[in-house]
């Protein structure tokens, strides 16, 4: 196993508030590493630093062994990072297949070609069809992203991220707002991801976390207070006290 993501000593301050307090963690290839923590713990801030949208004040981020601390977001994507957003962020005017095709094209390159016909790029089309094949989105291929249901939008984001063939996936609450059935489907999809990439999963849905995660880290007030296997975290008295509190707050 090799680390696809290594974070060490990451610090981010907003004024007096320390949103990320010397965070050190890693994600191995083929592993789902879940990051949990109460609201306001700094999970989104951390994710945004990892993706390159916020610059950290200190610490380093290494992606596949390369220091990307000062690389912009798109450069990290080029190196093999894929992500989904907490609030889905799609191209609302594009259809499902156009969206995926654009992701495929973005990955394939040739984005500065002025004189080709994007719609006629056969490899892009084939790959798009392959990515959509068998997913719940396949029958929705001609639908505009804006008209999809919430769960379908979440899925589309995931497919678009996968089109980039990432080595590391940052998933920011993929279960949020999903119904029971949809959640079940999403868990299955995510489980399938493990074979393709390392995953850093930020999630509130504890059932999903316990079902999927190989390792769990707990973030409280910007600090990692515990890290370990599912069982270790379940049993960790410190975690229970600091974060989990009562069982009722688990979900």
């Amino acid at each position: 196993m090799s680390a696809v993501l290594e974070v060490s000593g990451l610090v981010k301050r907003f004024g007096g508030l320390v949103a990320t307090d010397h965070v050190t963690l890693d994600v191995q290839a083929g592993e789902i590493h879940a990051l949990i923590g109460p609201n306001g713990a700094g999970k989104s801030t951390l994710i945004n630093q990892l993706s390159g949208e916020i610059a950290p004040d200190a610490g380093t981020i290494r992606l596949l062994g390369r220091d990307v601390t000062h690389e912009p977001a798109h450069a990290r994507v080029r190196l093999g990072l894929g992500r989904t957003f907490q609030v889905t962020s799609l191209l609302d005017e594009c259809t499902v297949s156009e969206s995926v095709a654009l992701a495929v094209q973005a990955h394939a390159g040739g984005n500065l070609k002025l004189w080709d016909r994007a719609a006629n790029r056969t490899p892009v089309r084939t790959r798009t069809e392959a990515l959509l094949a068998g997913t719940a989105l396949e029958p929705r291929a001609a639908m505009r992203a804006a008209d999809l249901s919430h769960g379908e939008r979440k899925q589309l984001e995931l497919v678009m991220a996968l089109a980039l063939e990432p080595k590391l996936m940052l998933l920011d609450e993929p279960m949020a707002g999903l119904g029971h059935v949809e959640s079940g489907e999403m868990i299955e999809v995510l489980r399938g991801l493990r074979a393709r990439a390392g995953v850093l999963l930020v999630e509130h849905d504890m059932d999903a976390v316990f079902a999927l995660a190989d390792r769990i880290s707990v973030l409280v007030y910007g600090q990692i207070v515990a890290s370990g296997s599912v069982e270790e975290i379940r049993e960790n008295p410190e975690v229970r006290a600091a974060y989990l509190g009562g069982e009722d707050e688990l979900c």
Binding site: P72, H74, V77, S89, L91, H107, L114, W115, M160
Partner: protein, 319 residues
């Protein structure tokens, strides 16, 4: 499959326009149509940045002026047989001046775009305006090139032995360039780059997450857009045989923007319709009353209040 038919029909009308105008005893329609086509190119180029790329530039008249001045300055130096800085000889060959105008406008667009694209929203609108104003003031104070009074060209540039002084000839040249331009633009919009640009307009953060260096792509689009406007400016210099800082005035930027909005933002031919509508409206109103701007204001207001998406949307709704 009626669209090709319609376009073909329009082309036929445009092709026989000079004959039609002569027959109707209204030859001034030809230079007017020439100007409409040129403004159409400029507005469509602006639309590439504005409608397709989501970059609301309030300074594109700068490139229009730059394109025009490249032609006029080269002509003046050629005419006076005085090389620029004693080094670069002037020329009156359209085959040199037109590409050069495009390149120089592109360079200015690169510089202005590179700085302006660091901002966004209303700040972007204002900073592009600021750069255009700076260029405007620069040319107003350039005594060597006529300052405020502008530069006159005794003759238009030479091109393949054609007499561009002849209005129908200039018109046909412009028409051919316009057709090529719009065919090229159509292709550009549907290219890989055009697709990516469309994505950036819709959701820049998403495109960044797909690994697209959005800044670089936007800049590239901004440069292409500036080049198109510069080409239009160069054509205008030839059609008018005159350039002045007025071409760069902020109200010209506004006019180009109005053509785009009037015709339909983010549509291929909308800006051309917008240019035609605005110029025809002005010509018609001005011939009718000296208080034409009141009429123009009311018409523009009515268009924006009662139609969304400009003339092209109105047309689509009718058919």
């Amino acid at each position: 499959m009626r669209q090709p038919v319609a376009i073909l029909l329009a082309l036929v009308v445009l092709a026989v326009l000079p004959t039609l105008a002569a027959w109707a005893g209204s030859p001034a329609t030809v230079p007017l149509a020439t100007r409409i086509l040129i403004y159409g190119i400029a507005a469509a180029s602006l639309n590439f940045a504005l409608g397709y790329g989501g970059m609301i530039s309030f300074g594109h008249a700068a490139f229009f002026g730059i394109g025009g001045y490249v032609v006029a300055i080269l002509f003046t130096h050629w005419f006076n047989e005085a090389p620029i800085f004693g080094l670069i000889p002037g020329t009156n060959q359209l085959l040199i001046t037109l590409p050069l105008a495009i390149v120089v406008s592109g360079l200015f667009a690169a510089a202005i775009g590179a700085l302006s694209l660091r901002t966004g929203g209303v700040q972007f609108i204002m900073i592009t305006l600021a750069f255009a104003q700076m260029l405007f003031f620069l040319f107003v104070s350039l005594k060597a090139y006529g300052g405020e009074d502008g530069l006159s060209m005794r003759r238009p540039d030479a091109f393949l032995g054609l007499n561009l002084r002849d209005r129908p000839t200039m018109y046909y040249l412009t028409l051919v360039i316009t057709v090529l331009f719009f065919a090229g633009l159509r292709r550009l919009v549907r290219s890989s780059f055009g697709t990516v640009l469309d994505g950036i307009r819709q959701n820049e953060r998403r495109m960044e997450a797909l690994g697209i260096a959005t800044y670089r792509h936007k800049l590239f689009a901004f440069i292409l857009s500036g080049m198109g406007v510069g080409m239009a400016g160069a054509l205008m210099a030839n059609a008018m045989r005159y350039v002045s800082p007025d071409m760069m005035h902020w109200s010209r930027s506004g006019e180009l923007m109005i053509m785009v909005i009037l015709g339909g933002t983010g549509t291929l031919l909308g800006p051309l319709y917008g240019a035609a509508a605005l110029l025809l409206l002005e010509t018609w109103l001005a011939g009718w009353t000296e208080h034409w701007s009141l009429g123009e204001g009311l018409v523009l207001l009515a268009v924006v209040m009662f139609s969304r998406g400009g003339l092209i949307a109105l047309l689509r709704r009718r058919t």
